[in-house]
Symmetry: C2
Subunit: 272 residues, 2 copies
């Protein structure tokens, strides 16, 4: 069971995102947390606090977005509560079914494991930067509005027993893998050249004069999964869609990036 | 699984209630919902949205209140999320264990059943009225700050199979029994003389020049339980602490009060 809260003006703006988009994103945050434990999400409950003058259509679109995102993993909305408030706050709680497996935690990584990523990294951070620059129509802006989460690949890897640890990247790859490093008492070395930088992300980064790996290593909100795989399972994990991005070694718990300084702030910032 | 949201300025005021009180009340709202399904609450998750200048001590007291209220039924806090926001919003999701029993619903009442109440009615409404009149030290004001919910008696009745329906009175006795009447397609007749009016409630009502049954029949926030019991189980239910307050008959679904008009507005009003 896990809860995530999205607050207007902090996590979304109604002039940037539709009610439907906010619903998709709010559901994704909680569903990804459940999948990151290795469980199949089964149900959501939603608490909405909103001003009395919030358009009914916006709230209905929010509910549609929540239900549609839940539907992508076969989960449903089991209930909710609504209250008046000064601004819009959406809290989504999700529960899941481990289907008899032990939960995947942050504590299972061991030296020799490979680090894998399933899903997009840095797209939502780039989209937010573009929205802040006024480029609401940029294709990457949609990645901020509505994450595209590969629940199925992560859950398949969990069901196949391929993962020794798993997390949902919500605060940034380095920050979240830092939790794995701490909990597992291992050093994690990320291979900069292996981190995925699609052309559109590279182009957007150039337009800001920054290294796209900043977004890739510190951006949250894409709800990618990062985990670790023991050597005998690496081939199966890659066949299952996981991308190899680093290695686990012994040493003081930390996350380092090859050929460049590890980003100092390893967490996402909200926009207020 | 159920969620309830409390919003500052709507459900509580920080000058009237301590963080600990708000925690107790927020947890009670969700725990009572779980018990009203006939389930034993097992865990809570909490989403807190709050201004950056909220005192840490207030948030810690909130957490203590949540944990202590959960502890009264053997449940624990399983997780949470925190975000910045303009005002304080506390969303509490609770899950429970039916222990192999089917859930108690609103749809099981049948003509001939007796109506029972477990817990206080109208105390929190009286307390709120007193707080609004500036009487923060009145003993009834504490009933608004922190409900005293008899989870154990309700759960014992559910475990013993004594109830044909059960609800948590959160919007007022008449309004919530109205849901039972609708779902069960029955008429519910409440006996005004059987509704509990303790002396302190009667005295407070006199000081406002109102009938105390207004609070008793329309007040929410005490999280009393109301339900129905089939004739053979009435003695056992009463022995278990349930109070007989009415009868279920056939007829168009409605709730009526003996000797007086049924309160027109049968739901609680927030104070903003």
């Amino acid at each position: 069971m896990t809860v995530d809260v999205l607050v207007e003006g902090r996590h979304f703006r109604r002039d940037w995102s539709s009610g439907y988009d906010v619903g998709r994103r709010a559901a994704a945050a909680s569903l990804a947390d459940v999948v990151a434990m290795g469980a199949r999400p089964t149900a959501l409950v939603v608490a909405l606090a909103a001003p009395g003058d919030l358009e009914l259509a916006w709230a209905e679109a929010l509910t549609d977005g929540l239900a549609d995102e839940a539907g992508t993993v076969g989960a449903s909305i089991a209930g909710g509560d609504v209250s008046g408030a000064e601004s819009v706050t959406v809290s989504v709680t999700a529960i899941g079914d481990l289907e008899g497996r032990p939960p995947l935690t942050r504590a299972g990584a061991a030296p020799g494991d490979r680090v894998v990523v399933i899903g997009r990294l840095g797209w939502a951070a780039a989209g937010l930067a573009l929205l802040e620059r006024g480029e609401a129509e940029h294709p990457l802006a949609d990645a901020h509005r509505r994450p595209l989460v590969d629940y199925d690949a992560a859950l398949a890897a969990a069901r196949a027993g391929l993962l020794t640890s798993l997390i949902d990247v919500s605060d940034g790859l380095v920050a979240d893998l830092g939790h794995v490093a701490e909990a597992s008492a291992v050093r994690i070395e990320l291979d900069s050249a292996a981190l995925p930088v699609p052309a559109e992300l590279a182009a957007a980064a150039r337009s800001f004069g920054i290294d796209p790996l900043e977004w890739v290593t510190t951006g949250g909100d894409d709800h990618a999964f990062a985990g670790t795989v023991a050597p005998p399972d690496v081939v199966a994990a890659v066949a299952n869609g996981a991308l190899l991005v680093g290695t686990v070694t012994g040493g003081p718990p930390t996350v380092v990036l090859s050929d460049r300084p590890t980003p100092a702030h390893g967490g996402h910032e909200h926009f207020s």
